[in-house]
Every structure is written in C-alpha cells, then in structure tokens.
Symmetry: D2
C-alpha cells in the first residue's frame, strides 16, 4: 500500500465493534489510508496501528471522506460538521436513514445514487438482510399483502455494541437465547417499512422480532412470506438469481439454505428459499444471512465508499 | 433414599443425552430406583452409578415401569415386550405419539388419562412447548384460522442426539446458527397438528421452522399468532394465568418474556406474551421456553411416571 | 419443605452469581429457609421466589445463621454486625480467610472445627481445588520443594462476578482464552500458601497462573508437582483414595482425568492423576476440577452451614 | 488475480479444517492459483469455488508446488509421488517433521533453508508456538535445565480435525474444558524436543500438557521457564524484541499478554512475558498465542510456499 497516493479516510467512533471492524478493513484496503480515527474513553490507545484521538481534535477536512460509527443521536452533529468542511460522509448510525438529506446506502439497490452522493446513510444490520431478501419478491408483487410477512431475526452479540451492560456479559448470554423488542417495537422497523415502500412499493404489514444469539457475529433472518401465487423451489431460486445476476456480494444458495458460517468475515448476503408445504395458501420461507459487522455495517460502508471514490466496488473486501 | 421400598424403574437407551438426563433425575428421585439401564455400544460402562447392560439382557419384568429412550423405529418393539411382560411404560420416542395404543402424555393437558395409562407416549420436545403455548388460545377460538400460525423454534444441540455426525461437531456448530427442515418438513409437525385438533379443535395452518442453536440445552419458540380479536397485554397474560392456574410446571412470565435461562435444568415451560403493534389486524406473539432434555423429554417422562405410580407429580423434579 | 420447622438463614449479597446460586441451593434445602436476602441495585426484585431487600433493612437477628456473599472489603462490616447480633456466619468473601477470627472452611480438612465455629471463612474457588489436590501429597512429604509446584488454573466467567465490565462481555470472552494475574499476582496465592503451610507444613514455592475460560461455570486446575520419589499411577491413585476415603464430595477419577463436565452443578471436587514420563526426575500431574459456584463457593458454604447446624453434611446438595 | 500468470498450486486433503483454510487463503493469494484440490468422501463437492477431486485423479505434475493436508501416515506416500513427479512440496502432516528428507519449516528460524528446499515439513501447531517462545531463551542459555520447563497448552477444537467423533460434538465440548495426553504423552513432544536441541542446543526436560478449549480456533500456551538468572520485564521483552526484530509475523506484546483475540485469522504468533514474583529462584512465564489453522498450519504453509516460490513472504496473508 502506497500511502502517499492513497485516499485519506477519517473514522469517527473507532473503538466500538463496528469501528474496530472498519479499521481492520481499511488496513487491508489498497487505495485508502486512515487519516484519523477517534474514540471517547479509548482516546490515546493504539488500535490496528492507529493512534485514537479525541473527536474534537479530529481534523475533519484532512480526510477525503469521513465514516462515522458514532452512536445514534451523536453522529448527526459530526456528520454535519464534516459536510460543512466540504467533505463527503458515510454515516453508520441511524441518524440519516429516514432523512432526505442522505442517500440510503443499500448498495445493490441504490448503486448509482450512492456513487454520486455527498452523504450516505449506511443501512441498519437487520434491514440490510431483510431488504435484500424481500425487495425482489415485493418488486414483482408476489407478496400477498392480505397476510403479514413475519421476520424472525437472530443476531450475534456484537450487534448490541461494546458498552458494558449486565445483560451482555458472557455469564448471561452464553447458553441463553432470547427475543427482544417483541411486538414490533424495534427501531429498525420504520427503516424497513420506509425502504420497502420506496424501493418496491410494498406497504403490507410486517412482524419483526429480533433475538439475541450466543455468537459473536452474524445475523440470520427467517422470513415467512405469504405469496400471491405458488412458487416452486426452482422458480423462486431463479427469481433471486435473476434479481442479483452479477452482484458480487450476493450469494443465492441454490438447493441449500445459508447459515452464519457462509457469511461471517465476508461482505456478503447469502439468501436461500424453501416453498412451504402442508399449508392451504402459497408461502415461501426465505433465509437471509449476513455478518452484522461486515455487510451489516463496516463492510457495506466500505462498499459504498468505494463507489463514491471510484474504486472497484469490492476493493479491500472479501465477498 | 430407601432403596428397598422404592419403585424399580427400567431405563432403555440410557447413554444418549435424554437417557443420561433420565438417570440423573432418577438418582435424585426419593421414591424410585433404577432396576436396570441399557445401552448399545456403551454397555458395560458405569453411568451415574449405574452399570449399563445390553438391551437383550434387560429383565423387563423386574421393573414396575419402563422408560424407553430408544431411537424412533426401535423403541416400539421393546415397549411391546414390556407390555407383554405386564409392565407399564413411558415411551420417549416418536413411535406411539400418533397411535391410539398410547395416551399422549402432555401432562398438563392429559393428567387424568396419564394417571391410569398403561402406555404413555411422551411428547416431542418442540410440540411440548408449542402445544402448551397454543392450546389456551385455540380452546378459546382466539386464533384466526384465515391466517397461518408461524412458529420459529430454536433448539440446543442435545436435541439432535449424541451420535457423532459432522454437522454436530463443535467446530461446525459454535458461532453458527441455521434453520433446518424448512418448508414444514419436520417430523414433529404432524404430532403438533394432530394434538391441536384433538385437544383444542384447531385445524388451521401452521408453519413450523426449527433452528439449531449453539447452546447445549434449551428450546425457545417464537410463536406468531393471528387473532380473531385484539388482546392487550394484561388480557393475554390473564388468559394464560387462568388456563394454567395451579400448574406447578408452568410459569407465565408476566411483564417479561422468557429466555432459556429461565428453564434450563428445570421441568418447566415458561410462557410470555406480547401484542403486536403497527399491524392492521390483531396478533399476539407468544414466547415459550423449555429445557429440551427436561420438560421436553426426561423430566416430563418422570412427571408422567409420578402420576402413573401415585407419587406427587413433581417428585424428584425442580420446576 | 416445612418452613415453620426449618432454620432461618440470612443471605447478604444475593444478586451476584454466588448469591443467586446460594438462593437456588437453599430453595431445595429441606431443613433451611431464607429469612431474608439482600441486594444493592436489585433490591425490590424477586429472585427464586425471594424478595430482595436493602442490606441496611436486613433483620440480622432473625436468622440463625447468615451467609455473606458481599464483596471483599464490604463483607467484614456486616459479618461483624451479624456476630454482634449473636448470630453465626459463613463469609464467602476473602475478608476473613487469612484471619484468626474465623475457621477456614475447607470442609474436608477442617470438619470438626467448622462444626463448632461461630464464623467460617469460606475458601476461595481456586484454593479449594488446589488445596484438596495438594494437601494429600504435602502431608506425606512427597513434594520436592527444591522445584516449584506449577498450577495453571482456568475458570469460567462467573468467577469474575456479575458487575458489567467490558472485558467480561460475551463479545470479548467468546472464542477467547487468556491468562491474567500472571507472575504470581493473584490474590488467592497468599490464601493458598498460608493454608498449605498450616494444614500440611508445606512451604515450597508455588507458581499460580489463572486463566479466563469461555464457559459459564467450572474451574479446572492442572497442577504440576515435582516429587521426592516416583509414584506410579496406581500408587498415586491409591494415595488419594485413601486420603479421601468416605468423603461424599470428593471423586477420585481412577484411570481417567476429570473435566468440567464431571463437576458442574455439583458440590464435588474431582481429582485425577498422571505420572509424567520422559523426564529425568519424578513428577506427577494432578488435575482437579470443581464448579466455582458450588464447591468453590455457595455449595461449600451450605456444606459448612450443614455441619454448623447439625444437618447431614450434604443436605440439599448434589455431590 | 490474473490466473494465467499465477503459479499453480496443488492441495491434497482439502476438506478438513486445515485444507479448507488453505483454500480460503489461496483464494486471496495474488500470485497463486489452485491447480487441483483433493478430498476423500467430499470429492465432487465445491469448496471456495474449487471442485474437489479424488486424490488418485490428482494431476500432480500440473502443480508447481503441492501442499499436503493428508492425515499422518497417509501423506508421505503422496508427497513422495509429488517429488517423483519433480514437484516441490510442503507437507502439513507429521510424516516428515523428524526426517532428514525435509527442511523443518518453522519459517522464522529456518528461512534460508526453506527458500531452497524441495520438501518442507510444516511444523505442528503446538510446537510452532512453543518453539518461537522458547528458542530465544534457549539460544541465550537462559533456561535453567536443572528444573523442568512446564508448558500448558490449550487449543480450539479445529485442532482435533473434522472427522466426527463423539468427544468433539458440541454437546460434549461446549461448557467443558479438559486436559488430554497428560503425562508427556502427546505426539508433538518429540518434535518439540528435537527442534529445541537442533536449533538451540537445549536438552533440558519439558512437561507438555495440552487441553481442549471450547473455541473454534486458537492456541494459547502458558510456558513456565526456570531461569539461570533474573530477567525483569523490560529485559525479557527487550530480548524478544531483539530476537524477532523485523519479523512480520511475530508480535511481542510489550506491557501486556496476548490472548486468542490477538491472533485468530492472522498468520502471527503473539508473545508476552511476565517475571514470576514470590518465588525463591528466577522464573519467567511466557505466553504465546497463534491461530492453530493459520500460523499453526495453513498460514505457515503459505508463508513457506511464498519463500520457496520467491514471493514476498507474507503475500496473501494477514499477519
């Protein structure tokens, strides 16, 4: 890596799990270098060869692009400062995901808009998997909106952040499994609904139930889709193959269903389908898996950054 | 424990996870003692103080009751031999669960029939949790059968047995999570449907999707129920409290939702509910948790055995 | 359980992992009942059927005996108040382990003294396993004190307590393994040395290195003992069998070595031995395993309490 | 990657954990491409884009170099066939590690010999970490050979291979921890002793005790070294820093001790030291960590292959 010709990238909030992953990925990116990386209590520490600084010392304008992993509610301020300094940004918080200020960066769906965006709102981890699984069906009007789409999602613990909380201790999480935000209470639901409406005209009902898995990373979503007509295995797979033909970061697991093993440490969504037997009306079960820290966060941010900077889309990523 | 006044119990297939759990529980049962315990390749070994013998050496008639943990397809033969020897039996395999020969031993639902049964078919692990969660709603005709009930179930690895298979190795299961038998292909579905029809008159559609969790024991089921009318939190909880009033092995987690922690190593089902917001039609999400080896297998078998022998129902069990 | 004839027991500090385990064990104890249980931030919550109260509201004198799981440094004050109220106490903190005020409650070694003690200092988890493994060799002068005894110990995460700390998060501990307090820096070392000197006259050098295991509970210690003379497998096993003949809570795993599986959820130490080949001078490797929450803390406290109250020693315990 | 100018590499035994890791690493190697990859029962399957073939169909001569992950005892035959076909080989089995036919490929120690070797015996996983930790001390005659060096090593489960065995099931390994081959019975000991003698003239006694950790990958070794003279922290660290100055795949963790987190998915050994206090004679505890599948197997094989083929040593690797 030739640093003097590489693009300087600023990272805000580098000491959480997503920020760490971003530094890890940037360290391997042949065309980018970290201009600065900020942290709060960890300022002063060395992380992946990078000395962390306080955010208010961050020389925002020295970066060509700033990637923010700051917490929701905090990120917007520094993203606005970045923009005021004339720099582009990818915001990994939820602050701009429902805002017209930013392009919603679900790469496979918004590629041309991302490439020219000044500000990209990187999608939430759960929505990334659900949207890539549902959009092809919704765009073809195959979802029966008289019945609800039920999404059961399970995430590894890094999705809950790195701040110490009792319920995230190893002694609590290991050998346990729990649902949370049950009853459509999760903050990712509005993002999911808004994007399905905007990108696919889908306004049907969703029931979204996240669960906490005793694994470090990975999200698996089991998506129960009522259909307007029967889709057999081959047709359903063919539909996804066609929808994502040529996509480097989408794997359709024909004849099999994905699990976390297929996606961890990769910037990939893996999608598999199974028609449902022994029911009166047509249904398809779709399984979608991602690494919450990669395609669900830092990896997709790099994917978007690559588009914005004119790099080949998967530069520095393993898909 | 005074062995010379205790009831002799025979255990068939004691070296698998369920058989081990049965021996562990029987060792603490104040009124029962193990007359014999059989194993195939592990015959001759000592397990929880018990010397395992070959099944064809088992003196069936020396037991007052025989508990069979033999594999499906094998168990029926030895249960029939037990019955021919004039002894009562609890069969933990699937061999009699759909048969008129046996009483289906979901204890809370079939208590009087179990007490007098000569042969009890112990329910499957997944059906135990799902049935105890669904029967109160189904009996009250609260389930809207124009929409499907969706059950996403996740089980610890001991539910898959103790025979060495590559997909059950630690190196494969740890940090992974996968769905299996997707599309209503699991053999527990007919048991579930038949019991719901028989006990609650429910004939609506179910979508049942099991998942393999990287934990040793425990099942959590997230059950999505379309309702015929709105149930708020208090009403739904009240309904379950009433349905299971006085039940020693059912915990309704009011104002909270159960997780595996609440049930492992206990002969208990824990049930919690959450009404679903942001959908057009009424729905309830029910979370049910059990220990697959205890209430889902060995514990419920002891619970049934206690009834059959006239012991207090929870003797030797922690609920 | 007949509460009006049962002995009232007070529990101080019931919301940590040890306190929880104590309540769990007391709930199953046929001769004891919980008079009160205290907690700090969790006061007001219900735990295993027990409403937690603030410590300064604890009616110490209503208990016949008080078991304290308070933190080191805090416990002494309330134990002294308990004593001032005329009540006996078992202190599970480190506050009295090196003090002449208390009997050091390594049950198997100090049984008669424990029975009549007013105040018992319950041993640390690591010392419990190490002492029970080393005392039989040290008492027989079999340890070559010209060479160091090396103890590598690995503990499950509950040994580090339930206060939220980043380094104990699931995201940090899972798939990791680390040594800590390396270089003889662990606070259990003085307890270990003092007890070996007092109970066995051993004053040789020890090197004690604890490790953090990605499991919830259990301690395994691999103890490397330089010997004054060769001990073959049978002789070494026989020596331990003799030393612990009749002990209900000690298992010598002849012809095998113990692992955590043999001890979790049990009030047992399991000890196995292997002579070391391919070295010039005689050595024995001793493996000792306990459940850090049971024989390493709450279980041994109950064992001691049973002796103090005149119950059969293993009442309410599974050994 | 430009396949027509890349070096064709053959992989024997690609379906085990090491073989899989090798394919994963080769897929990212910019100068090498997989000419063929063999498997036994998995022949015909697709792995990381590679169709597995039966070993007897492998066109050995089409590869420039062959990497063998075949089992011990089987590998030698095919390595000999490879050599007979005029091709170079890296053997990852134990078959040549004690043989004069091969260069023992501990890269940092044998770099020039590896570069020109026709056949490299890739070191065992445990010896890799232990040797890199001990050689600097042994070469400087700092180890007191009148006392034994005690090595307690703990490995993730992938180190035990991918063949289904009951003791490697998730249900057995999770929440467990065990020692094995206790008493200096492990087959890596002769390799360790022979290499220490050859490379550092060390002929003192070793006590090596491996343990099975409930993690997927990673080895941590806690190495207890009796010293001929006192080494304080700074001196000991300085010694290692000097010994490995400029080494891209060795990390000396000054002022800290390594854990598995520091090394997994990396071709790195991390080494930290701590002088031992409270003992009469000088001792140093050395902690060494590697990823058993990377620096302990497939990664070091690539590192050696790079040297043999004239690539920059870390090409395709993350150190």
């Amino acid at each position: 890596m030739n640093n003097h010709t590489s693009v300087p990238v600023g990272v805000l909030g580098a000491s959480g799990y997503v920020g760490q992953e971003l530094l890890r990925l940037l360290a391997r990116h042949p065309g980018a270098s970290v201009a600065f990386a900020t942290a709060a209590s960890a300022a002063g520490e060395l992380l992946d060869g990078q000395r962390l600084i306080k955010i208010d010392d961050a020389p925002l304008a020295t970066a060509e692009i700033v990637l923010s992993c700051l917490p929701h509610g905090v990120s917007a301020r520094y993203v606005h400062e970045t923009r005021a300094a004339g720099r582009r940004a990818v915001d990994l918080s939820a602050d701009f995901r429902l805002s017209a200020e930013a392009v919603y960066g679900l790469t496979e769906v918004a590629r041309p808009r991302v490439a020219t965006a000044e500000l990209v709102a990187n999608p939430g981890c759960y929505p990334t998997a659900a949207l890539l699984a549902l959009i092809p069906l919704a765009q073809r009007a195959l979802i029966d909106t008289s019945r609800e789409v039920v999404i059961d999602a399970a995430s590894g613990v890094t999705g809950a952040g790195r701040n110490p909380k009792r319920e995230l201790l190893f002694g609590e999480v290991a050998e346990d499994f729990r649902a949370y935000a049950v009853g459509n209470e999760h903050r990712h639901l509005p993002e999911l609904r808004a994007t399905l409406a905007r990108e696919a005209g889908f306004t049907g009902d969703l029931v979204f139930t996240p669960h906490l898995l005793p694994v470090k990373r990975g999200i698996l979503e089991t998506i129960h889709v009522p259909l307007t007509r029967v889709l057999d295995q081959a047709t359903a797979e063919g539909l996804y193959q066609a929808a994502y033909a040529g996509e480097p970061c989408v794997l359709i697991t024909a004849g099999a269903l994905p699990s976390l093993q297929d996606v961890v440490y990769r910037n990939r969504v893996a999608i598999g389908v199974a028609p449902v037997h022994n029911v009166r009306r047509p249904r398809l079960t779709v399984i979608a898996a991602i690494d919450n820290l990669v395609k669900g966060a830092a990896g997709q941010a790099i994917q978007n950054m690559n588009l914005m900077l004119g790099f080949e889309e998967t530069t520095g990523l393993v898909c």
